[in-house]
Symmetry: C2
DNA sequence: CTGAAAGCGCTTACAG
DNA sequence: CTGAAAGCGCTTACAG
């Protein structure tokens, strides 16, 4: 910049203003500056301007994992909007570990991003680290899907209650007598909502709801498979399994294959899932598919609104986008 | 920092050095500084230090898409190493468009990341933008999988030739007479390598290799399905299809389902793929699975070596990690 | 072992 | 319309 200024016999201030297209600068000067900048392929230093302006044009995305269709599609949605708005996206993976989640937030406190979009790991049930982060950093923060149930943050969710309800009703319509709901890890917001929908549908079908209808799994596939194995070889195996996540549905398929339990004849399966190959599985898997891309997009949209308007303190909006129920062979009654 | 300095009756320089654990500072002073910093929850401004040091502790990852098991697993590998090394990761998606690729690189020229890891989009056949980027930015740049065939850059690849050769030999061992190789979009490095392996195996089995054995597809699923449809309903449909990417294999399954073509009896299918559900498809899909996580890890390892040693100009190393051939039902002979 | 000073490369309030 | 000056918050070569 100094170089440009010298060569053009202008001050650094004028050059800076010209490059920022300031109304203070004459058209002629602007043109001279821009031309020379082009000639020298001059690029302003973003750290200097970030330092000066206190804005980085970076946003952070914190997700449990990226090798998961839901989160990778959501990230795609976020990226799309960020690119449009001229923001760069920093990605942090927590690998479903709350201690990682905490260290990422600690790190972000000093990293001067302009805002954060986050989906919690499934073990996260307490939110002190979120609140601490908020009071320390005062950064705009938007949750999506696995949200913190704190009023102070805007969030993008899907209709977990209704879709779980509908999926369970569908199972009963397919002559299911005793359905089981499998969920991972912890009694977090999402599982609670889905569980409510499941429970209400069970009750609506005249059954007495008991704890046997709900089984908690883990993050470890092998353990989950042995849980499912025990369940399917028990005295009273269920007619149907409804899983909270894709991975569990895959585990159910694997164990059913091993045990030669026929899906859907002996066991119906439905799951929350964004698997692209759901329709190609043997048998094709009935799914509740979350609008991942749109959820990411909406979360980004909210975040940028907050960043630009600086009105984030009271913007505790909630956006809910409906999931879609895809009924396939895994829940078909003969 | 000024605040700390004042309260401790020290200079800003001393405080800065104390926080950086400089050998110049006495243990006692260090302790006082660190304690007060903790009390005030002081966080240094990374832009200021980046500006001063000319290092950002950011790396950029440029990939065609994230909603793809190969790339998301590779990203996971990169992230893992970056976290270890204390780097933050900026992610850029090109959506398989070379013009996006160019604008990302243009943008990175000014964004002062410390290094770049990149996998090209499939249409990218010319590398001027890569060379321009290199001469403009002089940033360490590592390629993985979809590499630029330029000697000046280190790269992490897999044994495309050998695995394509083996997969094709396997097809012949399953009584295949006329196999076809489907690839997407462009005649890039990867497709060339795989094609060579395919071709050599075909010739080794006594066939005369002709262009009919190779069909170019697109990025558009619908068009690909119609190409596959035409192929399977042609006068002489192939006994087997070998696809360069997962999506094409899925398209083959979809079309075969529509046409009631039985896999593997009438048509054998094998594909490069990192699909987790390959073994649950109907029928289970034989795959060549690339070591995605490890490739990402190795690419990151090379990048950090270059960043730390600043010897990147002549480090045109090539790391190759073998893929694994998973033989499943889609290539089984009766 | 500590500190004063320069400087990283910008932006902006202010003066003219 | 242009420019001088201060300052964003650090780090580091240098002096003592």
């Amino acid at each position: 910049m100094m170089k440009l200024a010298k060569e053009l016999n202008l001050s650094v201030s004028t050059v800076s203003k010209a490059l920022l297209d300031s109304y203070e600068i004459s058209a002629a000067t602007k043109q001279r500056v821009i031309e020379l900048a082009k000639k020298y392929n001059y690029k302003p230093n973003p750290f200097a301007s970030s330092l000066r302006k206190g804005k980085s044009k970076f946003i952070a995305v914190i997700i449990p994992e990226v090798n998961n269709n839901f989160f990778s599609m959501a990230m795609d949605g976020i990226q799309t909007l960020a690119t449009e708005k001229g923001y760069d996206v920093l990605v942090y993976l927590t690998h479903e570990s709350q201690s990682n989640e905490i260290s990422v937030l600690d790190h972000l406190e000093i990293s001067h991003v302009d805002g954060v979009i986050m989906s919690l790991c499934s073990q996260t049930l307490s939110f002190e680290h979120i609140e601490n982060f908020n009071t320390e950093s005062h950064l705009p923060l938007v949750f999506f899907d696995r949200i913190a149930t704190l009023d102070s943050f805007p969030r993008v969710i899907t209709n977990n209650y209704e879709s779980a309800f509908q999926a369970t009703m569908h199972l009963f319509s397919q002559k299911v007598k005793s359905p089981i709901y499998l969920y991972t890890s912890e009694w977090n917001y999402i599982n609670k909502e889905r569980h409510r929908g499941f429970k209400d549908a069970v009750i609506q079908n005249g059954l007495t709801f008991t704890d046997d209808f709900v089984i908690k799994c883990t993050e470890d596939s092998e353990i989950n498979k042995s849980i499912i194995h025990d369940l399917l070889t028990s005295e009273k195996p269920p007619d149907a399994i409804f899983t909270s996540i894709e991975k569990l549905a895959i585990n159910v398929y694997e164990v059913a294959n091993e045990l030669k339990v026929k899906i859907p004849d002996q066991l119906k399966v439905i799951s929350f899932s964004n698997l692209r190959t759901a329709s190609l599985l043997a048998p094709s898997l009935s799914t509740i598919t979350q609008p991942a891309f749109e959820m990411g997009e909406q979360a980004a949209k909210m975040l940028f609104k907050m960043i630009e308007k600086k009105s984030y303190k009271n913007s505790n909006d909630i956006i809910s986008i409906d999931s879609i129920l895809y009924l396939r062979d895994s829940t078909k009654s003969n």
